[in-house]
Symmetry: C2
Subunit: 182 residues, 2 copies
Amino acid sequence: MALRHAVLATLLSGEASGYELAKRFDVSVANFWHALPQQVYTELRRLEDEGLVRGRAVRQRGRPDKRVFVITRAGQRLLREFAGGVAKPSAIKDDLMVKVQAVAVADAAALADEIEARGAAARGKLADYERRAAALADPDGADLGPSLTLARGIAFERESVRWCAAAAARLRARPGAADGAR
Amino acid sequence: MALRHAVLATLLSGEASGYELAKRFDVSVANFWHALPQQVYTELRRLEDEGLVRGRAVRQRGRPDKRVFVITRAGQRLLREFAGGVAKPSAIKDDLMVKVQAVAVADAAALADEIEARGAAARGKLADYERRAAALADPDGADLGPSLTLARGIAFERESVRWCAAAAARLRARPGAADGAR
DNA sequence: GCGAGCATGTAAGTCGTTACATGATTCT
DNA sequence: AGAATCATGTAACGACTTACATGCTCGC
């Protein structure tokens, strides 16, 4: 049960609907956490049942109605307790790196293409994070947390862009060019 | 079922026992994947049942006997099929970053300490990866895959070291010094 | 004698992913 | 007309984590 902490921490930056949170988790907060929309909805329901978040319905015109959630005092207390404990080591799972590790039995050219696509995606995320970092009102005060995690995300994506370019080049330049199957 | 691909890819670099693989997954291959010993043992048994790896017993003196595993042709075929498909986006989960995001309701000094400990761990990993990268026999040929994933790990850990130092400094220098509880 | 490292597993429970399900509105 | 976006969920299944279990050797 760690997704709940990620959800609560995200809500510190302001209220959000399940859908908005889901998008952040699916695409962009991939900075330090990742979750699917279904997970987020399920978790929000549980958090509400336990009084850690509060939701209210918002009528919209031209769009389906939605429910936006805010963190409660009990939620903040839970977060503080979580922050007091020991953090688990970070976990990374990256299919693409597994493929790279296995390039000896795979198609290097196709892999180079995929890596370049990943590099393009990283450039997109980078731009997004930089926009958000620039938009923070008080990067050394109230927004210190988000400012630090964004700084991390920016450094990470910059590094990704660099590595993807270098890796694709090395894969294309490698000696035993054609292989693919045996 | 993606752990199996990570195990098979790791075995491309040479045979290993369950214990050895477990350590690589628990500590160091955290570079691009992460798994607990129990998972590795369970997966190895399944892979052997399916003929994707082959194990043989090795008698040892002064130590318990062990079983070392090698990848089979069928295993290589499976890896190649995996490499041919589309890679899932990478997934990161980092408790420490959740804490950082939530620093507004937490103890900033304690967090700075923990971040510095993480930085020290990153320096350790970095040294390990650099040793391994230097030990590769043919970084642009047979060892291209491991060379690229190590390069990624090295860049990542270097960035971690930098970020940890900067983040700890900013947490200690922040305006509203004492907080912790409310 | 005790802790650390080597070496391998099982069982129960929690978490995450995939597939299914619905429905309105806006853009092409 | 069809695709994309907004908006929210349930159910089944597969993956992962935590707790439990065993036993030997080496160094302090």
